[in-house]
Symmetry: C2
Subunit: 227 residues, 2 copies
DNA sequence: TTAGTACGTCGTACTTAGTACAGTACGGGT
DNA sequence: ACCCGTACTGTACTAAGTACGACGTACTAA
């Protein structure tokens, strides 16, 4: 079996850790976390499975690397930005956008215990921002834990939604609600019918509401700079 | 191969969906989500793998069922309780306790799209509580999305922590920090050393702080009852 | 130019998953 | 006594992660 060296060009680029991880990210975007298998990844790279093991230690390392790639997509806050609230809001919105682009990532994060460089750089920038704004370390801990919990949790809730956009939810939802013993969950059903399924409602708009609460709470911390 | 019907007693109880799911819950608690395999589960029940398929459709149904069992452990809020804030706080704390008892569950939730009866009952009770307190549906939507995002997200952050208790964190953390290029992440390292690793700090205490913010924010919604 | 060598890739194969299919034992109704 | 449905078992197929050793290519040094 000879190499098809007849085909020149960039397809002859040798494998590398970065190429493996980028392909893994694309594959997960296309197929979800379960579609990210060693064999499929090797196939996408035009290579046999075992070739990958010269560039990454094992599949776990691929998962760690891919999660770090996701963090690398986040806008870093600027510690010298005009307003710390603005920077924090931008960071949160960027995070939500990125986690929305890579829905599979949120479920992966739970099992990752080894933050990568992009993750650390990101946390460093957030701490730097709040420190520059004048927050105490204690209040930084409160602020970061609270904000991250909200953003992660919101992304998790969105990942759990059984539908994608706000369209074609209604007939699907109607079926589910009809099949459900309506008198078992009367408030849930009423809430769904009279609010969630009404034309104007969009769950993703809840993000802005919650984020506003979070930022107001942080602004009320003892060491928060007076505006 | 004959049945060992010689052994009488409760061990001869036939399988059932409930017995399968309870064993699955115990197994996941003991071994984590990855330890929950069909073969291991069958082994724990003293039965061959394929026997399970007479009681559950497939592994996905087991995961759905187990997640619902976790929800079944939550304290239901009492819509007639003396104070809606108290009930909401109790519910949030119960949720955090339960998710702490079953750390593997949070990662599973992301992929579950079919809420079980306990899950629905739980949501129904929360909506009933807020409705009885006088909240509008719009504000209920804000409140529930916000509170759940916080609780889920906090649990996710705790699941990501590389250690368990507050003990023996320090030497481990010191190693990690020392191995880390300290000037790459100066704020992160300073924050870790000067605050997180100080004797009094306990990440889990951040839950109470955040929960206080959440409940205050909800109490400030337009339709919230005046206290 | 040639021989050696290191490295990247491949072939094969082992282990552990989930689960399809076809039995087989046992208990209850006729 | 027969039959049959229900609950369980045996066997085996597919897909995944990955260990091990062979092999081809490209660079180095004589």
């Amino acid at each position: 079996m000879q190499r098809s060296d007849a085909t020149p060009g960039p397809s002859r680029t040798p494998l590398s850790r970065a190429r493996v991880l980028n392909a893994a990210l694309d594959l997960a975007d296309a197929q979800g976390a379960d579609g990210l298998t060693i064999r499929a990844l090797a196939g996408a790279l035009g290579v046999k499975p075992m070739a990958l093991y010269h560039h990454v230690q094992n599949k776990d390392a691929i998962l760690d690397g891919v999660v770090d790639l996701v963090f690398a997509e986040l806008d870093l806050p600027d510690p010298n930005g005009p307003s710390w609230v603005g920077e924090l809001r931008r960071r949160a919105e960027s995070m939500r956008t990125v986690l929305g682009r890579h829905r599979w990532a949120i479920g992966l994060m739970e099992s990752r215990r080894a933050p990568g460089p992009a993750t650390l750089r990101h946390h460093d920038a957030v701490i730097a921002l709040l420190h520059a704004a004048g927050f105490s370390f204690g209040d930084i801990a409160h602020a970061v834990a609270f904000l991250d919990a909200f953003v992660y949790g919101f992304a998790l809730q969105e990942a759990m939604l059984p539908f994608e956009g706000t369209d074609e939810v209604h007939e699907l939802a109607e079926e589910v609600l009809a099949a459900m013993p309506a008198n078992e969950y009367p408030y849930f059903v009423a809430f769904a019918r009279e609010h969630v399924l009404q034309p104007g409602y969009d769950f993703s708009a809840e993000f802005a509401v919650g984020l506003g609460f979070v930022l107001d709470s942080i602004a009320g911390l003892p060491s928060a700079p007076r505006s």
